[in-house]
Symmetry: D2
Subunit: 391 residues, 4 copies
Amino acid sequence: MPIDAAHVARSPRIRLGMVGGGQGAFIGAVHRIASRIDDQYELVAGAFSSTAEKSRASGADLGIDPARAYGSYAEMARREARLKNGIEAVAIVTPNHMHAPVAVEFLRRGIHVICDKPLTATLPEAKRLAKAAAASNSIFALTHNYTGYPMIRQAKAMIAAGDLGDIRVVQVEYAQDWLSTDLEATGQKQAGWRTDPNQSGAGGATGDIGTHAFNLANFVTGLSLESLAADLQSFVPGRRVDDNGHVMLRYLGGARGMLWCSQVAPGNENALRLRVYGTKAGIEWAQEDPNYLWFTRLGEPKQLITRGGAGANAAAGRMTRVPPGHPEGYLEGFANIYAEAARAIIAHRSGAALDADVTFPGIKEGLEGVAFVDACVRSSKRNGAWVALAL
Amino acid sequence: MPIDAAHVARSPRIRLGMVGGGQGAFIGAVHRIASRIDDQYELVAGAFSSTAEKSRASGADLGIDPARAYGSYAEMARREARLKNGIEAVAIVTPNHMHAPVAVEFLRRGIHVICDKPLTATLPEAKRLAKAAAASNSIFALTHNYTGYPMIRQAKAMIAAGDLGDIRVVQVEYAQDWLSTDLEATGQKQAGWRTDPNQSGAGGATGDIGTHAFNLANFVTGLSLESLAADLQSFVPGRRVDDNGHVMLRYLGGARGMLWCSQVAPGNENALRLRVYGTKAGIEWAQEDPNYLWFTRLGEPKQLITRGGAGANAAAGRMTRVPPGHPEGYLEGFANIYAEAARAIIAHRSGAALDADVTFPGIKEGLEGVAFVDACVRSSKRNGAWVALAL
Amino acid sequence: MPIDAAHVARSPRIRLGMVGGGQGAFIGAVHRIASRIDDQYELVAGAFSSTAEKSRASGADLGIDPARAYGSYAEMARREARLKNGIEAVAIVTPNHMHAPVAVEFLRRGIHVICDKPLTATLPEAKRLAKAAAASNSIFALTHNYTGYPMIRQAKAMIAAGDLGDIRVVQVEYAQDWLSTDLEATGQKQAGWRTDPNQSGAGGATGDIGTHAFNLANFVTGLSLESLAADLQSFVPGRRVDDNGHVMLRYLGGARGMLWCSQVAPGNENALRLRVYGTKAGIEWAQEDPNYLWFTRLGEPKQLITRGGAGANAAAGRMTRVPPGHPEGYLEGFANIYAEAARAIIAHRSGAALDADVTFPGIKEGLEGVAFVDACVRSSKRNGAWVALAL
Amino acid sequence: MPIDAAHVARSPRIRLGMVGGGQGAFIGAVHRIASRIDDQYELVAGAFSSTAEKSRASGADLGIDPARAYGSYAEMARREARLKNGIEAVAIVTPNHMHAPVAVEFLRRGIHVICDKPLTATLPEAKRLAKAAAASNSIFALTHNYTGYPMIRQAKAMIAAGDLGDIRVVQVEYAQDWLSTDLEATGQKQAGWRTDPNQSGAGGATGDIGTHAFNLANFVTGLSLESLAADLQSFVPGRRVDDNGHVMLRYLGGARGMLWCSQVAPGNENALRLRVYGTKAGIEWAQEDPNYLWFTRLGEPKQLITRGGAGANAAAGRMTRVPPGHPEGYLEGFANIYAEAARAIIAHRSGAALDADVTFPGIKEGLEGVAFVDACVRSSKRNGAWVALAL
């Protein structure tokens, strides 16, 4: 084993609560594992489900003190805020339409928020939440978890350092196949809320995964969108939201891009893929094989940079736990967002300045994501006219 | 070696002439190799260059009778048409703007034409050529060579047989990097004419490679375009044609697609890639690894079908020379177009009916390709408005 | 997200101690993360280093009660055994030569052992430890962590079910490059003890990684070795143990194999790769891309089975936390061994019968591994003569 | 298209005959295509089958003058040697046991020989043939065609230039699956003679494909074998030759290697793979994806060198017809051997000195290959004892 995993000098664990994530949920379990990997959090409370009984059952599974398994997020916010050792942070893992009301409730009590994406189901909600966050002194982290992958950090740093020259072209896509059929009609819970515009927002695939793709491209390139033109489809008969979206992108400064998101592409499991090309070089990365980054300099042989390996930079190194060739995956990438948030929360405890390297998506990125969905829907309704984000 | 390469009972070789393809050319040599691989053609005449002297020099290199190395295509057409054993077919490998005048000259003398793509530099020319071809009794083959790859034939047959169900989404792209800099300013011949709108037509990357991508998607899916919306760029300062193009596609029948073509994407050598998704399954293919075809049925493990291997169908088998695991490449795919044209020419000799399996791109596909470029340019000038092909 | 991560109803966490794993160590941190991922363990004590001071410093980093950060494993064993809520299990992450003395000390006090591989540095030690384990009522788990990967479980179950027919050929290899130079001379700690026969045992690469390869082949195929012939090398001048080994394998029942292990193969980070071929089909798996398993049935297209995806079986499903396309990696595979051990420890608490699905390497596999190294060294000294394991 | 295909100034085509390669044969057709690709040969005569009638039928298919489609190789040699424009070279594509008698007959008449591999079925035959070749003034080329791949030439030149440092480890393998069942019992012609020791020699897989693997490793590394230890198997019941072989290699100078050849490994089509590791770097190459070469320098990111692309050297360039990203394959590699032989034959015509770059396998490599099979068989019979080649 060529390298040593760093010891992290530990502050007391951050006391964490959770809203959502009860039995039958997917992303709640992911957040819990992510919070544990680096041992910076301790889950001590939760409003896991919409009824007190279900919430307590989930809490029992998770070893939570029954007194802190709440029947509603409002009760939880109120009571935890009064406890001497109440939660310092809350993870929000509900369907999208609940993000804003829950987050506002905790933010106003000075409790930090780690919220699943997209920020909200609608743009007005997003703006309200942004105001609440701005008015609060608390930290707000949005789990655009793919920004936590080491090779994504590597790519971002390389582009920032000018290794690609001026960016010309961005190709980003996120394809899945699990909604190729009318799964929501079967009662499958994940499909149900994600295809219900009242819970997910006006965007289907655009909201669920298109936002990830859009965010990842922004994060890595540092570019800002000028406008987009979108052609959205609902291929599965009866579906109320888009399940496939084609988007052309124009970035400020002249770069151009394409974004494809789909949940009806058989053979694609979770195929988020980013390619960026500049005047001097390109990079290519695929989420399903996240430990590899292609770096292609014009006129030189292609290089395959590996996580932790030769050519990996400090930005990737900050996110790395095990040596090259020992693959890290989705959960480690997710944990990196939790770790970044922990650094911010711990600094906040003491009022210490935050290390400049600490980077994680927050309100700004969340607003952009919701505005992206809104713009896609507006453009598509106008037959693919170019529209700007309504920020 | 598990399978036997078929003996092909041989008719007398087809007497072939060539226009273009002299010293410094690229695609002429490719056509010559392609014509030799299956031993169905014999190159016996040519107007290889724009001067008689250069043409004779090239002819000498190629072992051509000096009397049949002509100084102009017009002279060649006139004289070969009068020879007892004059050429039966001509390969046209000039810059685009010469395709139409040359082809017309030979077609009107009853000489078959094998023409490089795109069909012409402009849409009016394409229509004139189409009329000339319709008025002629001769065969017209357009070397959209990528349609000659066995696994492309496999994919086409699978889709025709319904293996993918109804097509929903087409993703096609063709990326290169060799025009990332202002190569035309260096006097490089290939770059020179390809970026000169007078020789290449109004499309740069769209015409040179976008047409291949567009054609390949049509060929494999059997779909016809309803309309497109394009955003074209000329990233290299001073370049007179597009070097990157983003196109959204709407097919008749409801399928949707995206097409990306670029000659400024560092790390991409000749990255033509096609993905098609239907209600039941998807396929994925990449030109740089042409012996593989992914077949992804919804709810089943991915299959990797190999040329000549288990799962390869008869349509692929017709195009296959060597056993699985013995890779075939670009030249063999190109040769398959020559072989298909040879079958048509040989049938034409005797008036025999052509085997229904014989398939190669011709005037129709050529017209569509030029109309595709025309539509991309029109749409892009109208800020990405949806436009139909002006066929 | 197509599938739900299961809630695991939780028993009280297992109280865990650790021997080794102080500052500068690699594998200790891995064990700690692995123990946390599924929230079944709580690290409460440790003898992290060889001095009390260093051990306490490491303990402080890890949030361990200073009273339970011990200066020696012997003290730790003695005192924890007397505590009311002393540790139930100990993770041993020292250099190899310390495994046996440490393990014996805890086993004799009824404390379960989770021990890094190889079992011991020498075969006599391994046999003594095996006796101690047999005499104890405690559970002994050996972290041949690669057996925890879901697709390895998948392959094992497929072979057990006869999907491959009778096994004929095993090809297994484990290549790294980090010892290509005389790294031990630089004072690098990992290289130092791994190339010191007094700490690592007579095998270098064979002991450090060859044992993993050997174990993985046995685990997946269910085969037992009859004999081997080995040719070991120490390519780096002055190195005292092998850094590259070539081994031919004969299994009982007639299967044959080859094993290559190397730490001097530039470009190989942690390239453990297993291929097994039977009368009906083959499987191929690579540790660096662990979410994929090739399944190649004779006369059918190749299948790529993905973790959690279509074709994944129940044995893989038991080891899976997140949906297909969300890659799991080394730490999750390692955590699966911890999770299996936890199931055994929890059943042991109550005397409940252990679920028959629970599978993890233990003393038997450890003995075989040390005997494998011993046999390689003996065979190589006898110029590659065939030798049996001295079990 | 970034590069121009070179014009090759053409000498008159080499008049070529063929022995073997009639209906039902595989490799004869490959030789014919290979001879045509660069237009340096013209097939004008043949003894394609063992009877005059069959030979004429094959000749007719191939457009051969019926007077030159012979009923026996002896007749062909005798008569062609007397013709004014008789053949200058003969391609021998018979089963192995006929290589020597046929070759001797042509060599003694001053006709150049291009012979399929392995050189002969037995070592004594090989030595006799070697003498006949030495006594002749003619050129002898052995179609170890894999040495014709551009990236193999690239690797050879890189190693010769010291880019890998001192070679330590060679891993070479050649796996197929087409003999996983008792195919010879079905009357399949290719399987029939290849598993008949009277036609193929004592080696089965070792002779048919192991010789390729052995040759390729020698060709690329420039190393010579000191000794080998082999464990050969005949897994298919009743098979008279080996169908799987495991071999450990010791090269002069201290490098060590492993060679695996198999025709019973389901999922392997034609999986020849070479990996070489030195003190400074490694290379990896796979025949089924021949346009790629991994170059892995210790402590630097992996490089993927592509045929014709950045990083490709002059040795690769000599073998390249089309630009990077336009894949070349098996037939082009095979054609490269024909092209190298043509250069030698054309130089021989005029007595000109041969360009030092011209490289192709001949008698020496053929002898080594047959001696390799002989050594494998001897070692395996002696239970894997180390034996030297009996050259």
